[in-house]
């Protein structure tokens, strides 16, 4: 019960800010329409989804081989490849890289993986200056809050709120017009880019055959971060592998269409090794940090399919729960349906156990997922796994119910008891039960049980014993 209260209390709190939630709802509805239109424009969208799912499943089933190939190819092109088993280790590795290269000022392109391991906090407490360069992340960071959506971090903020946050961050008044706000941030960040000595990104995909990283952005900050600073660090979850460039084409065709309805993001960047000695610009050193942080454990479990995720955010936009309570209610870096799986799984089932419950299993997410992850089935599997960790009261309830179902006279006695305790509101409906029934009837109305059960009436009218 305590775990269940957590997402409920956060959701209740979120519901007290209807304006923010209206923005979430409107944006999600827009994204759903855009995704639908983009998928309909494809020649055979379902076949494409099946192929993408097959590519992801195949890659995961052969992950060690692909990882090894990727590491070898990347190293052959001059990249340094590191392996971080945990989030803490990832932070340590990045700090070591910064120290080895004498880097103090870091610019970051959006990376969910870096949020997952708390990289910003680790770098800042070591005295490095860290600036988020994705517009939404910049604002969220300046406001001191985590992103509210995998793809659109400040989906819940109005332009007035953004103006206030930016005014504080930039030290000057900022207009409420989004275009003007963007221009202010652009000017500010140009100066920051020019002075930065390390760029940190994630990667949307890692191509095994060529040792390349693929970054998909719309703003151009991904390119800035990998062009101007002299060191580039890429933090890449091990599940991001794809076998080769033709397979990458399939996944690219689905990623942006699922996320925002575009055929491709504005910039799809393929990086292979650091800048060549003859290149006029670009990072002289490329460090790729391959992140495990629980993924290898998930690979060996029944919920392996969750690793297929390409982080498009389509399931969030489709989910009625997400649309009504927003991303922060999930209390974690990954929100929405996929977050309800990833958060507890990456944490080794030590936290986030309330999240798989926060679903009606409607299946909108599974229908939207470009790589055909059967999220409802996985949610049920996760619920089954966590059943042993439930509070005693729930076990007692389930045990009692099973007993009633098995024992006919006990069931009949319970029926009579129920009729006795359920108070009629006067119209034949019982709206409030006493004691333990109170919570259950808070959101449910029951028709009051009749004086005689069907079985008794049948027995009476037909003369059976």
């Amino acid at each position: 019960m305590k775990d269940e209260a957590t997402i409920r209390t956060r959701a209740a709190e979120a519901l007290r800010r209807p304006a923010a939630l209206e923005a979430v709802r409107a944006a999600a509805a827009r994204k759903v329409a855009q995704r639908h239109a983009a998928m309909q424009a494809l020649r055979d969208p379902q076949a494409l989804r099946r192929t993408a799912a097959a590519i992801r499943a195949h890659t995961l089933a052969h992950l060690p081989g692909y990882l090894e190939r990727f590491a070898a190819q990347a190293a052959a092109r001059g990249a340094h490849v590191h392996v971080a088993r945990s989030g803490a280790e990832a932070c340590r590795i990045v700090l070591r890289i910064a120290r080895a290269h004498g880097c103090r000022r870091v610019v970051k392109a959006k990376s969910m993986t870096s949020e997952e391991v708390g990289l910003n906090a680790a770098l800042r407490s070591a005295g490095l200056e860290v600036v988020e360069t994705d517009l939404g992340e910049f604002v969220a960071d300046a406001a001191g809050e985590p992103p509210a959506h995998i793809v659109t971090p400040i989906i819940h903020r109005t332009r007035h709120e953004v103006a206030a946050v930016l005014a504080r961050a930039l030290g000057a008044p900022v207009p409420v017009d989004p275009a003007a706000q963007t221009a202010r941030v652009r000017a500010h960040l140009r100066r920051v880019f020019a002075a930065a000595d390390m760029g940190i990104t994630g990667a949307n995909f890692a191509v095994a055959a060529t040792g390349s990283l693929c970054l998909c952005t719309n703003e151009g900050n991904g390119r800035m971060v990998t062009t101007l600073p002299r060191v580039h660090v890429a933090l890449v979850g091990i599940e991001k592998l794809v076998p080769d460039l033709p397979a990458l084409a399939v996944l690219l065709k689905l990623l942006a269409r699922s996320a925002t309805g575009q055929p491709l993001t504005v910039y799809t960047t393929l990086l292979t090794g650091p800048a060549a000695p003859s290149d006029p610009d670009g990072p002289r050193a490329l460090h790729i940090v391959l992140l495990d942080n629980g993924r290898s454990r998930i690979l060996g479990g029944p919920l392996r399919d969750v690793l297929r995720c390409i982080r498009c955010g389509a399931c969030l936009n489709a989910c009625p729960v997400y649309r009504h309570v927003g991303g922060h209610a999930y209390g974690s870096v990954y929100s929405g349906p996929i977050g309800s799986l990833l958060t507890p799984l990456l944490a080794g089932l030590r936290r986030g156990l309330d999240l798989p419950r926060a679903s009606s299993l409607c299946g909108a997410c599974a229908a939207a997922c470009p790589v055909q992850i059967d999220i409802p089935e996985l949610l049920v599997a996760l619920r089954r796994q966590t059943i042993r960790r439930q509070p005693g009261r729930r076990h007692l309830m389930m045990w009692s119910w099973a007993l009633l179902m098995r024992c006919a006279w006990l069931y009949r006695a319970a029926q009579r008891l129920l009729r006795g305790v359920l108070r009629d509101a006067g119209d034949g409906w019982a709206r409030r039960g006493p004691g333990p029934l109170r919570a259950w009837t808070e959101w449910r109305d029951l028709p009051r049980p009749p004086a005689e059960s069907f079985q008794r009436r049948w027995a009476r009218e037909n003369g059976d014993a």
Binding site: A26, A76, V83, T133, L135, I154, R157, L270, A275, G282
Partner: protein, 238 residues
């Protein structure tokens, strides 16, 4: 940084080979615990291809690029100088970098001719090496290829051009020869897979944009806010 490092280097704490081997061993163990057959998917192109070579590639490219927010202008090779000059004037660009690369339609000699014509038209034309922050109003470049399916320009470091060239100036004019257009992303990836990749390949589709604030579309965030594509048709006398 020499290739001989092969994954180790000044910033790795201990041989990363060991860490990688340990991870791979754990992954093998995990997969053995739950073996699930997953063969290689059959011919991807048959399913994934959206645009075939029989399509009107120039028209398809133009439509997609326009949808992504670029402007597309078709002209013959003879009218190129005038077209580019007009675009730059419309964008209010005075300081311009013109750069072509071997393998592009706008190769170095065509680029030199274009640069001369623009100087005659009164513009200040610089070289790619002289690029500084905010100093160039516009960049006029060729492309390595263009993709009809998505309306994308393929820009890379292959020609020895800086990454920042097509990123920093506010206006980008891209000169594309019609023969450079490939039908589909699958074709592009096949082509890229045939040779060693340059250090950086960018598929640029339209101007830089965001909708992070209230879902309002704003262009020109970090990359160019204005992208004009000049599609050069093959004409009899080039």
């Amino acid at each position: 940084m020499r290739e001989a490092h092969r994954g180790s280097g000044p910033a790795s704490g201990g041989p990363p080979h060991d860490a990688l081997r340990a991870l791979l061993a754990d992954l093998h163990r995990a997969l053995r615990a739950r073996p699930e057959p997953a063969g290689t998917p059959a011919d991807l192109r048959a399913v994934a291809r959206q645009v075939g070579p029989e399509a009107d590639l120039a028209a398809r490219f133009a439509a997609q690029a326009a949808e992504a927010g670029a402007t597309v202008h078709r002209c013959t090779a003879g009218r190129l100088d005038a077209q580019v000059a007009a675009l730059l004037a419309a964008a209010g660009a005075r300081r311009v970098i013109v750069a072509g690369a071997a393998g592009q339609w706008l190769d170095p000699s065509r680029a030199a001719t274009l640069a001369a014509a623009l100087r005659t038209a009164g513009l200040e034309v610089r070289h790619a090496g002289e690029l500084r922050f905010g100093e160039a109003d516009a960049a006029v470049t060729g492309v390595d290829a263009a993709v009809a399916e998505t309306g994308s320009l393929v820009l890379s470091t292959a020609g020895g051009l800086p990454r920042g060239l097509t990123l920093l100036p506010a206006v980008h004019v891209a000169v594309v020869g019609c023969a450079q257009i490939v039908p589909d992303l699958c074709d592009l990836m096949d082509r890229l897979a045939q040779r060693e990749l340059p250090s950086c390949v960018v598929l640029a589709t339209g101007p830089s944009k965001t909708a992070d604030i209230e879902g309002v579309l704003v262009t020109g965030v970090h990359g160019p806010g204005r992208v004009a594509v000049v599609l050069v048709e093959a004409d009899g006398a080039d």
